[in-house]
Amino acid sequence: MTIFNICVEGESDVGAVASAIQYAGGSVGGIFGRGGKSKVLARLEAYNQAAERMPWAVVVDLDHDFDDAGKASDAWLGSSGAAPLMAFGIAVREVESWLIADREALSDYLGVSIDRITEQPDSLDDPKQYLVNLARHSRLRTIRESLVPRKGSGASVGPLYASEIRRFGEGRLDVARACQRSASLREFVASVEAVVLRGA
């Protein structure tokens, strides 16, 4: 089993990234980052260097920094590109798109009609906000209270967003199904598979 150290922007990303790695035949060792995008990018060079010798998976949100993931990857990883044991993922535009891509599981978990959920998650402008807005329409009070911020609170997500979304990603996300709708997730899974093959 290829064990990956992973680095993500936030706690809520851990579940989806771990599931994608497991789906691709790897498993998760240490969890790094979770202090925002700037911190992940600041250390990316060091992680990439470490990935010369051991498996690493780093996932960064594209946000609106670049038009497409290719340009972002060139800019962030530099001319030498990803190290042999680096699975570098760029979520378009946020890791939340990967969760939204599994419409069936998400509609069941959030308690919202499946028709409300887009079929093109990678085209969303602000996937996190989209997810929170879906939760706002939930039939389930616990979902609304956990994921939606109180009015006027100044927070963009609800009090239990991090652990609930992580748990959804870990326990309910069907990566195969999500891959059918999210190209950026497919690319990440492929890069993890490539490292697993190299590491074997």
Binding site: P149, A155, V157, L160
Partner: protein
């Protein structure tokens, strides 16, 4: 007053606002309070003193307490009065109790000073219920017998009938700040009941009914296992002298594992046990000082989520001071759940992060909250500390 208004039970209330005047570090401080609050600020800004205002109200109404004793325990009026206090001699605490829907069900205000024998004396005590005055002292009887102003009506069962809910609510406030050394060597705090520093922590567990205790200990073991994976079981035992002990069974290379008593637990294990016990018991407001102490950052990261889970079940209000970057990194912490304390020559000022323009601007730009708060509350010139010990 409608029937609907009367129906609110004190157990559903929380502090919705506090206003302090001349209280310790604070010459004037007002802040709204949500169900979960984090108080941040540099060392010695007054975070504990702020929480102490809530404890003071609890001490007034607690068994064996009372206004005079609460002041005395804190070293008298002159120790409580803000150094920066000038014109106004009175120390004042004013709280609002309410719910999410009704911000002000009750309002309680206590202003006090001292007489020329340095004894605490009440200058004003007022209770409002939905804005209607229920109590307003000093009244005529106080004028005819000034000795009455040495006791609050809040603490007296025979006169607080009309606002008993306020007294019950204040009495339900709990403060917890486990000092592992005191749990291990309880002799240091002999005779104390409900010692917030954990001197009688094991006895507190022992005093709980067996059924509740066992259920709670099981839940605690399940939660603790995340941080202390070797722990399998917790049980209360009594030694030959009748002193209760908390035994934990640890996984071991031997088949049956090994039992250890509290004297052998690590600081982190004891503090986490104390924290979990505190959040699991009762429904009244819980005051916590730096719950992150002695805990691994990976454990600390989940404290805010744990608070929210507890609140989802019991609705309990939790007010905690913190210095922890990991704790504040939780994206679900709202800007109106963070109170920033800033010391100055005129006393410490208090502001809700939501009301500080700079914080909101940076937060909206995507800068993580802990980074903003660390930069804001970190002491200036702290690099000098690195030179301590160098030849001058």
């Amino acid at each position: 007053m409608s029937t609907e208004q009367e129906a609110i039970d004190w157990r559903e209330l929380r502090f919705t606002q506090i206003e302090l005047a001349n209280w310790r570090n604070f010459s004037a401080a007002t802040t709204p309070l949500q169900r979960r609050m984090f108080f941040v600020g540099p060392n010695a800004a007054g975070k504990s003193n702020f929480l102490d205002a809530f404890r003071f109200l609890a001490d007034i109404v607690n068994v064996g307490g009372g206004f005079e004793s609460a002041v005395k325990r804190r070293g008298g009026v002159s120790m409580l009065r803000a150094f920066s206090a000038r014109r106004y001699p009175g120390i004042s605490i004013r709280v609002r109790l309410g719910t999410d829907d009704e911000e002000s069900v009750w309002e309680y205000e206590l202003t006090f000073s001292q007489d020329n024998q340095r004894r605490p004396v009440i200058m004003k005590e007022r209770v409002l219920h939905y804005g209607d005055v229920v109590l307003d002292r000093p009244d005529g009887e106080d004028a005819s017998d000034p000795e009455r102003l040495r006791q609050t009506h809040l603490e007296q069962v025979n006169v607080n009938r009309d606002f008993r809910d306020v007294a019950e609510f204040c009495a339900s406030t709990r403060y917890m700040h486990i000092v592992p050394q005191l749990v291990r060597e309880p002799d240091r705090s002999v005779g104390k009941a409900n010692d917030p520093f954990g001197g009688d922590f094991i006895e507190q567990i022992a005093r709980t009914t067996k059924r509740t205790r066992d259920a709670r200990l099981r839940r605690i073991v399940a939660a603790l296992r995340v941080a202390v994976p070797q722990l399998e079981e917790l049980e209360l035992t009594t030694d030959v002298r009748g002193v209760p002990h908390l035994r934990g069974k640890y996984k071991h290379w031997r088949k049956n594992g090994a039992w250890q008593e509290e004297a052998h637990y690590s600081d982190g294990t004891l503090r986490l046990m104390g924290l979990l016990w505190a959040v699991a018991e009762g429904r009244g407001p819980l005051l916590l000082e730096e719950p992150e102490l002695s805990l691994h950052p990976e454990v600390v990261r989940y404290i805010p989520q744990m608070f929210s889970q507890v609140q989802r079940r019991s609705g309990r209000q939790i007010l905690a001071s913190t210095h922890s970057v990991e704790l504040l990194a939780d994206p679900g912490i709202a800007l109106d759940e963070v109170v920033v304390l800033t010391p100055s020559n005129e006393g410490t000022s208090v502001a809700l992060a939501r009301d500080v323009e700079d914080i909101c601007l940076q937060h909206a730009a995507g800068i993580p909250l802990p980074e903003i708060l660390t930069a804001l509350t970190g002491p200036r010139g702290v690099d000098q500390l690195g030179l301590f010990g160098a030849r001058s």
